[in-house]
Point group: C2
Chain length 175, copies 2
Amino acid sequence: MEIEIKFRIEDVEKVEEKVKKFAEFVIDKIEEDLYFNSPIRDFRRYDEALRIRKDIEGVSITYKGPKIDKETKSREEIKVGVDNYDKAVLLLKKLGFKEVGKVLKRRKIYRHNNVLICIDSVFNLGDFIEIEVVSDGIEEDIEKAKEEVFKIAESIGLDRKSSLRESYLEMLMNK
Amino acid sequence: MEIEIKFRIEDVEKVEEKVKKFAEFVIDKIEEDLYFNSPIRDFRRYDEALRIRKDIEGVSITYKGPKIDKETKSREEIKVGVDNYDKAVLLLKKLGFKEVGKVLKRRKIYRHNNVLICIDSVFNLGDFIEIEVVSDGIEEDIEKAKEEVFKIAESIGLDRKSSLRESYLEMLMNK
């Protein structure tokens, strides 16, 4: 289970300066995400997602389940590393999945204890910050994790009420 | 495209002795294959297959297309290496695929030029030999590859007419 909140940011340098004060730098990379829809149920309708990601760390296939609350974009995530991008795309297509869109972004990752803070510059969309923590999925633990990520957001001046639940793909589709 | 023929063998030691005379030993391993069916079309009916394989070399997901002729089990194959067996199984299940059966076998692989010769002892089924070569899929090339694998089969005393097209999974299901 991935407990995750997201905010649009206007002054990305200012936000990053604040993050640097309490979190350590992990990586700066370009992520290329290709999203697919399912032939058996419309992932948009059921709030699921399937994507292949390519970045400097490798290639992965990720399934994301429906979001579990109304305030965050927390959801189940199953991520499998794969050894070949083109073959992974071909495999999903042969199994009936359809390409729906691509999201390209520069992502800088910082870490504070078990929390990851991603500063994303999304091509054609703007700058965002994502704050996430992995939870074992027990209800009590989810609530604790949620408060933890919101506390970090508030400490860098982000208003809880402006937390976004839309994915980058949805935002790009709705433009 | 994988051009492949298969035969049941009674005296496995005798066949292996013949193979050793012209082919070099590659690997001796246990392969554990878990097969899935699709929620959108019955793979048995359309002669397709989807499996996750686990062996000492790693884990992979493979899609196999319909067989392309009546004499061999040649077909398109897309194989992607993955980094985690349990997550790969969970991913396919979340995407709607259903487990249909497991095939467990000991496989000894020999190589002669571009041809792989697999001597398989399949749990609950018996001993088999598979002779295969990878083709680029051009028709002329497929015919050439087919004659190449049948020539090897005949050189070790296997009758072309007894070539089997059923998969191990189908054989186990039909028992």
